[in-house]
């Protein structure tokens, strides 16, 4: 039978269907119009029309991060494409599998400064895993298939496919499956046997090991293997900002989050460790503080799918390149064979750590001004919603409190912008997550600053029946910046007052805004109203819900290691550092 002849536009839609794509977030425009026509007829793909392309990008990220599947977004050329840039950069930093399709001016116009022309391949080169410019219809199936393969295998990441308008309009034979020719792309997934043995030996000879668990463990789907290695080694574990939920918070060995706002036990265990068992983590500066003084006495086992992460910041004594799930299966088998059911003796190490846990638990004080405590609100959202829910945070204080005070029990339940720190991530990411997992309760925990960057997607949520719950932790300011101004700039609050909360003009009025978008709006100012509002939000599923939690602006995120300092300088409250009793 001869091959079907399709337009390039039809070939894009058909290729996506054949690759199992069921959802696309996007917004049409001139150069992508041809593709939107056959998209309208697709029975397999749900296209969700966003209000701003950045929203499409973060929604695709949220979709991917909640489900582990590929996220897809689409936009037109020029400004449509450049509006995706922040989300692409975000996905690149946090290794989110994402396919970005953009329309481009006709190939005959490329390079002429045509209307809505932007060199989006050039612009995004440093922030994509790879990118393609397609100028011929016959190349489309092969490029889309290759893009999906690159985005989803090895270390995941965003891949951009820029398709010239004439390539969308031309006709070509549709050949499927296409030949994918990527001679330079062969991710290593399986570890060297010798390295596995070396890692096991190092683990069994360590007296102060720590499992340093990073976001790669979630991308690899390695949570069962993590439980196993925790059980086999008996070692304390820390879960980085990107790895919250990779190991349950109720697990007795989990010390919580390390880093700038990590728990004292997590920060200190890493500092005093003699062996970092590094699992899909990358020694980010927000974890290590001053890298030279980070865990100085520790040897390092570093397991990562990306060889370039190994040795980038910290020398690895045992480097292992591979897929974390596969590597851990082998390492666990090796450990099992070597220990024969006997756990290594870490009694002294645990005496020290248990002491830290007892003396320096996570906590917060109720604000002196009598306002609502932001930490309390977030804690109650977590407790009432339970571990099956999904929580997507923006960036700043509310993000750190959400990482600290919600207890995560499963991977992919915590979504946030870790590497890029993108304000405005939360609402669209929650929207994407809710589309991916419609049966789950999905919260956007947002700040009043972040919320004002992307709240236009509430329209998308209301119209497309995506009932997310938004909790605005409204402290009327750019809270984290304000915290730094309090601590490091003598309380000079330069341009951090947003006038949305307590004793202010409340512009915008978030209740009116919720109403305008067809959402249920609730305002909470007192402790006794918190639970009822959360419960009402959970019961309301015929439209999105926005709760304006008007909280105190002086609450700060603790513990804290000031930027650039050694993690030895961790403070659990303002001007209060842990006291070491000579044991160390």
């Amino acid at each position: 039978m001869p091959n079907e002849v399709l337009t390039g536009a039809q070939a894009i839609v058909r290729s996506l269907e054949l690759l199992g794509i069921d959802t696309i977030f996007g917004l049409p425009g001139g150069a992508i119009l041809p593709t939107y026509d056959p998209l309208m007829d697709s029975k397999k793909i749900r296209h969700i029309l966003v209000r701003h392309e950045q929203g499409a990008g973060h929604a695709a990220e949220g979709y991917a991060s909640a489900s582990g599947k590929l996220g897809v977004c689409i936009a037109t050329s020029g400004p449509g494409a450049t509006n995706l840039v922040t989300a692409i950069a975000d996905a690149h930093m946090d290794s989110v599998p994402m396919l970005v399709i953009t329309g481009q001016v006709p190939s005959t116009h490329i390079g002429t400064d045509a209307f809505q022309e932007a060199d989006i391949v050039g612009i995004t080169m440093p922030i994509t895993k790879h990118s393609f410019l397609v100028t011929k219809a016959e190349d489309i199936p092969g490029v889309i298939a290759a893009a999906v393969q690159i985005a989803t295998t090895g270390r995941p990441g965003p891949v951009l496919v820029d398709v010239a308008k004439d390539a969308q309009n031309q006709k070509a034979e549709f050949i499927w499956p296409p030949k994918i020719d990527l001679p330079g792309f062969k991710p290593t997934t399986k570890a060297h046997g010798k390295q596995i043995a070396a890692a096991a030996d190092l683990i069994l000879s360590s007296s102060k090991p720590v499992l340093y668990i990073g976001g790669g463990s979630i991308r690899a789907g390695a949570h069962k293997e993590l439980l196993k290695i925790a059980e086999l080694t008996g070692a304390p574990a820390v879960t980085t900002l990107m790895a919250r939920g990779a190991l349950p918070d109720t697990h007795p060995q989990n010390l919580g989050m390390p880093g700038m706002h990590g728990t004292v036990p997590a920060v200190t265990a890493l500092q005093k460790s003699d062996l970092l068992i590094t699992l899909g983590a990358r020694f980010d500066d927000r974890v290590t503080g001053d890298a030279k003084s980070f865990a100085k006495g520790a040897k390092v086992i570093h397991i990562d799918i990306d060889p370039a992460e190994i040795g980038k910041i910290r020398h690895a004594d045992v480097p292992i390149v591979g897929d974390l799930k596969e590597v851990l299966q082998e390492l666990n088998a090796e450990l099992e064979a070597k220990t024969k059911g006997k756990k290594p003796d870490l009694k002294e190490w645990w005496v020290f750590i248990d002491g830290l846990k007892k003396r320096y638990p996570l906590g917060y004080d109720w604000p002196e001004d009598g306002m609502l405590s932001p930490q309390y609100v977030i804690e109650r959202i977590g407790e009432l919603s339970g571990p099956e829910a999904i929580f997507a945070a923006g960036v700043g204080q509310h993000q750190m409190w959400s990482a600290q005070f919600i207890k995560y029990e499963r991977p992919n339940s915590w979504l946030n912008s870790g590497g890029a720190g993108t304000m405005g991530y939360s609402v669209p990411a929650a929207m994407g997550a809710k589309v991916a997992q419609p049966e789950r309760l999905v919260w956007a925990i947002d700040g009043d600053g972040c919320f004002q960057m992307t709240n236009q997607e509430l329209a998308t949520c209301t119209i497309n029946d995506i009932p997310i719950k938004v909790a605005i932790i409204n402290n009327s300011s750019l809270g984290m910046v304000r915290q730094w101004q309090s601590l490091f700039y003598n309380g000079r609050y330069s341009n951090t007052d947003l006038h949305t909360g307590q004793d202010s003009v409340m512009i915008p009025d978030f209740l009116k805004l919720a109403d305008a978008y067809g959402c249920l709006g609730i305002r909470v100012t007192k402790k006794e109203e918190v639970d009822a509002a959360i419960k009402l939000a959970m019961e309301t599923n015929d439209r999105p819900v926005v709760i304006d939690f008007v909280v105190g602006k002086d609450a700060m995120v603790w513990p804290m290691v000031p930027a650039g300092l050694s993690n030895d300088e961790v403070q659990f409250a303002k001007d209060a550092a842990p006291v070491w009793d000579g044991q160390e």
Binding site: V121, P126, P183
Partner: protein, 168 residues
Amino acid sequence: MSRHVLSLLVEDKPGLLTRVAGLFARRAFNIESLAVGASEVEGLSRITVVVQVEGLALEQITKQLNKLINVIKIVELEPEMAVQRDHFLVKVKTDATNRSQVLEAVDLFRGRVIDVVSDSLIIEITGEASKCQAFVKVLEPFGIKELVQSGVLAMGRGSKSMSEKISK
């Protein structure tokens, strides 16, 4: 800091050079010399990059370059295991009084004159970078009007080829 010669086998795709050069720029690695051209395999190009870096940074460069999808293979060419050649074109001022002196230098350095006019010559010279530079030094007193360099080209000694075992 030490000098390293990297040889890259890459797919000849649009934007490839931008990807390689951009990577060096954004990761703050310095390029001393860069030479690009077609290889013996259709569709594949060969890039020779000379970098000045410390040990650990070299490992990062190599690993980051390897992550580029269109980069197929990278080898570091050790000086004793490889031949390295530079190619210079030099336009030098000459007249009837000093032309013979210049031609003598060309002979000594085994260069070739490839263009002659009454008041200047274009000379090509090939060899290790140090030899080419020495030749330029000798010509300097006569007045160098233009200098163009190819960048270092390098190839491993022996019968092995970099494109072996590449299915293409």
